[in-house]
Amino acid sequence: MTKLFALALAAVSGAACAQMPAANTMPDGSRDMYVGLGVASKPRYEGGSERDTAFLPVLQVQWSNGVFVSGMRAGIHLSRAPQLEFGPLLELQPRRDAEGEGDSVGGADLVRLSMVAAPLAAPGGNRLAGMPGIHSRVQGGGFFNYYLTPDWRFTSSLLYGAGNARNGLKLELGVQRLAIDVGAHHRLAFDAGLTLANRRYNTAFFGVGESDSFNSANPVFDAGGGLKDVHLGARWNWAWSPSWMLTSSAQATRLLGSARMSPLVERPNNLTVSTAIAFRF
């Protein structure tokens, strides 16, 4: 299904995925801003086999006081040492609902009248059909990055507040090879990382409760915490002029642990690709 705008924003930093941009220096009172629009192809949901192609707005802004907005993230660089980056971080977790075939199955909140009643959603279709929607949430936490060399950095972020109960916690750890110059105006960046999540996070996104099971036809699944996924990413930025650029990225993710075993997961390996034109102000 194609949407006019995806509930996601892309970042154009040298980092391969939508991480926070590197701390940098600029004149007092100045900023560096990228705004653009592109197209992204991604799984309909994490673990889903069906793909969505959607328009993707691009936004990245940094101010000289350290505040930044990068895709769905915003934070503040507090470190003054070039080898360290740390500070508070906010991230918008987008909503997940049962868009698609499942939407036609009404009454997910119907009272169950009989223990032998048939499931409200037919098995084998959209596995999110009948599952409760997960509201968008602003997660709060912090980030800490350490530069092993000017080109390599270890990255980490801890965010809390995902899921309807606002108690999902995730820890992302990664390593990034920052912008490699390939010619005067082409830059490549790569990253690899893993995500750890607490039980409540995985329960919110991968668990299936008893009532959810009845409504969705998915078997009951009690998700546990631990390693959630590993991922590899690459980004290519092609600057046409100081103001205009083409930014493209690909990220492969493999769900692991309890998330991998969830009946909601149709395929553990997911690929997200995007390309966008951005203007630098």
Binding site: M26, P27, S30, T149, A184, W244
Partner: protein, 232 residues
């Protein structure tokens, strides 16, 4: 899949962007904002740096690319500056907030093929061509301190010496070591790159290692292009 109208919108965006940047051919411009960010690090560095100088280098990727007569031109609404490059591709870089905010291009006066931009820190030249060993050691330590400021992996490196880099067509190439007892000796000349990572390794260079007395003087009869700290 995206609908035809969506694809049309994307193509239109691409055409608008390409037409907007048409005057800048690939390979002949540099983002002033990117250069500013690279160069301001030295400016804001709070450590000792009185023996050092920082310059922006346009480093060709092809060996043997001539930079004779090449200059960068900053042509903004509020600033018009010509920045001639030396034989090593370096130029003093003006830190101008107006040019940063305008996001202007630095235009190369002619195409030189592929290149990359690098901030380069070297030891400031003396007008009389005489360098005290002790001052060169202090300068090298300052350069190492700045390098460690931006790169923690250099923590274990030590200052080993300095490398004098001369122009390929210099009238006289050489460095004499003048000792306190009055004796003189010339250091060996070899060809090499001015800075680590430079593609052109055909510059006459003289390596001086910090091994003996700090009271030694080094004398250059002809000004070098650069004195580069050597970290071991």
């Amino acid at each position: 899949m995206p609908s035809a109208s969506h694809l049309t919108t994307c193509c239109s965006l691409a055409l608008i962007a390409l037409s907007a940047c048409a005057p800048a051919r690939a390979g002949d411009w540099v983002s002033y904002r990117d250069a500013y960010r690279a160069m301001v690090v030295f400016e804001k560095y709070g450590g000792q740096k009185n023996f050092l100088q920082s310059q922006l280098q346009v480093a060709p990727q092809e060996r043997g690319t001539s930079l004779d007569g090449v200059q960068l031109t900053l042509a903004g609404k509020t600033n018009q500056v010509n920045l001639p490059l030396d034989s090593l591709g370096r130029t003093a870089f003006p830190l101008l907030k107006g040019a940063y905010d305008e996001n202007v291009a630095l235009m190369l006066s002619r195409k030189i093929g592929g290149f990359s931009l690098r901030p380069r820190v070297s030891i400031a030249l003396q007008a009389d061509g005489v360098y005290e060993d002790g001052e060169l050691r202090a300068a090298c330590e300052q350069a190492l301190g700045f390098a460690r400021y931006g790169d923690g992996s250099l923590r274990t490196r030590q200052c080993g010496g300095v490398r004098f880099v001369f122009a390929k067509r210099a009238a006289e190439i050489g460095v004499r070591v003048h000792r306190p007892d009055g004796s003189d000796a010339s250091l060996a000349v070899s060809t090499g790159a001015a800075f680590p990572g430079d593609a052109d390794d055909g510059f006459p260079t003289v390596l001086y290692r910090f091994t003996g007395s700090e009271k030694v003087q080094l004398v250059t009869a002809y000004p070098p292009l650069a004195i580069v700290p050597v970290f071991d």
